[in-house]
């Protein structure tokens, strides 16, 4: 069974790298969104198993996307992993307190990104 994974980031280059990196795992089915709003609509229709999202995005940032999706019907089913360059411990703690599964530091290692994301799904 393939695992649906949604990657939300406003940087097209990073999206491309991330898609390639995540696709290294043949079990993953990857879709991307270029903004928070696009991500929310894809998430609602596609129901991904896990959402990887950037924290700092114009218009709607990562935490807001998470908060919006949580309020949807079945919102509690979404699982969020943040991908951020801001990895100070209190920032990480803040994201976790908001309900994120975990935080992956940017720049990520493309060869192990799929593995890291998978680890959160198993747990």
């Amino acid at each position: 069974m393939s695992i649906r994974i949604l990657y939300i980031d406003d940087e097209p280059d990073i999206r491309e790298v991330a898609v390639m990196a995540l696709s290294l795992d043949p079990n993953f089915e990857v879709r991307t969104a270029a903004s928070g709003r696009e991500g929310i609509s894809i998430a609602q229709s596609w129901a991904p198993h896990i959402i990887l999202l950037d924290v700092m995005m114009p218009d709607l940032d990562g935490p807001s996307v998470m908060a919006t999706l949580r309020e949807c019907p079945n919102g509690g089913d979404f699982r969020f992993l943040f991908i951020t360059a801001r990895t100070q411990s209190h920032e990480v703690a803040k994201l976790r307190a908001m309900g994120a599964l975990g935080v992956i530091a940017k720049p990520f290692d493309p060869m192990t990104l799929a593995e890291q994301a998978g680890a959160f799904l198993d747990g």
């Binding site: 790298v17 360059a85 976790r96």
Partner: protein
Amino acid sequence: MIEQAKRLRGALEFLMLGGWIKQRPDAFKTAVAAACGGSLLILLILTNAINTGFEDTARLRQLAAESYEARALLQAILSRHQDLELGQRGYVLSADPEFLEPYENASRDIDTYINKYWARASMVQRAQVQALRRASAKKRYFASRTIAMVEQGRKIEAENLIAKGDDKRAMDRVRALVDEMSRTEEAILAQRVADAEQSRIRVRQRTISLEIGLISLLAIAGLIIIRSQIAREKVRRTAHDMAVRQEAIFDCSKDGFIVLNPSGSIESLNPAAAAMFGFASQELLRRDIGLLFEVAPERGEVETFLQRLHANNKPSYGRIQEFAAKRRDGSIFPLEVLVSPVHLAEKTLFLAALRDISDRREIEHIKSEFVATVSHELRTPLTSIAGSLGLINGGAAGEVSPKVGRLVEIAHSNAARLVRLINDILDIEKIEAGRMPFDIRPLPLAPLIAEVIEQSQGFANQYGVRLKVEPIHPSAAVMADEDRLVQVVTNLLSNAIKFSSAGDDVCVAVTSLDRRQRISVRDHGTGVPEAFRATIFDKFAQADTSDTRKKGGTGLGLSIVREIVVRLGGAIYFESVEGEGSVFYVDLPATSPSEIALPFDDDGQAEQRLPLLLHLEDDPDMQALVASAFHRRAAVHRVSTVAKARQAIFDGTYAAVILDISVSDGSGLQLVKLLRQRNPGTPVIVFTAQDIEGGLQDQIDVALVKSRASLDRLVSVVMERVGTLESVSV
């Protein structure tokens, strides 16, 4: 600011002591005393001399009077003889008995007068008196003979006897003797007058010389006094100038200065201090300093602080403290304060130098925002670069030719280096700004070292270096922040590996010292060059610029290590022999294993989901107790000052905030308003030994009184609130 405060303090001491007295030489006093003593002595002698002069004159006057009397007496003797002769002659010529009366009066008086003269005559004069007696007797004998002859009727015979001239000669003799005696008297008087004149001249000369001496002495004394007056005036002017200058500094300084008396009320203040708080200077005089705090210190607290400062000014002197200050309009601002005692002659005052650091705070905040933003902006493109290169390098994009592969490898490793560099710069910026949160708690070293070794294994393998650990006693533990200590040991290991040759060992050991634990990392590599040892911990310091490329370091590793170790209250040293290797030592405060409340495990997953609490508490033991009470239930960010707590509230979001009331730089209650403004929903729990005042009760969720037994209650209350909050927001 410290310099200025010192200068002002000196000036105050100088002004209020009237320092010039200290500078007068003793010679001045001695000279004045000598002049006074000398003058008095001279005056005494002078008075005595003048007195003697007066006495001499009086005696001379007496002598002159006596001499005049004596000569009058002599003249009386002569005149009685003349009366006698007149009476005798008249009787002889007229035989009239009427002439006998003057004769008889005269002959009766003569002896009386001569005896009178005899009484005061000197020896020489007495000889003359005897001669006079004889001459007088002879004269009186002739006179009585002739008178007797006339009485017997022998008038002619008497006249003849007189005519013979014997009578006249006797009278002449008397006259001659009286003249001689008068001359003698005159001569004696003249002699006496001459003597007196002589002595008068002597007295006058002595008096004049004494007067000259007196005048000289007075002149000298006067000169000395004038000179001292001039010197005094000069000192006064200098003091005045200094006071004016210091006053100008005091008044024109941008920093505020407040002079406090020992009870904590304001003695004086400069315009900057008054302006800082929005008061007019006059309004603050004699007021209590507590008026200017956001939360007024408790009664006697300021006084106790000042007393302590006065009693041992060494440890606290020059220590800058931070307070939340309150303006007249009630607005709060951060204030930096340096209090130093001013020791005056009669009392000790305290000078508080104040600086409004709102701007600095703002700039610090802007700077840290800027660094965070820049690093984020740099990391975004790096994510794409490193990601792409990583994918090619990892073979995800298919086979590439060996040459391309090598180039991609170089590009990839340099992208990785750039990432490390940005991370290191961020780290050092945070540590130096004091914003890296340090979660200091007891840490057992054995599992921590094992973890670091495991993480560094891959890096060691690249260099073909073997990592070894000497057995670590299970009870070895230090007070430190786990993440930071891992960073320290990792950096030291990474250096040791980089400078070792393939096949070398790098060895980690832990040694228990007195109240410290020493972690040592030993390598057998190239060693630290002599010339590099002094700067090894400096930023961007590298022994050899060519090393940078070879070793791929950022040049920040050891300076980060040192900064962290210093913040952890530890110390770092190294020993090195070029060509044989180096050993780096990190000494950290030890803690006994009993302080480790619960064994640490690698339950990372669970801990990552824990709610984050902010705990303001300045007692490290209480901090540790609370943190261990929340173990596995919440992550506790511990801060010990109001300032740090404020910063943390600005920087992060917390599931709940636990506050102590009395901490070193203020009260946790100062934060309640801020918390309510920023995160109205965050539960605020006051955990303290004090009572809560000031009508803040309704803004606080729960207030608990500190005690060991109440820890469980604290945990349950906090977790209950955090739980409610989460279920609401989720």
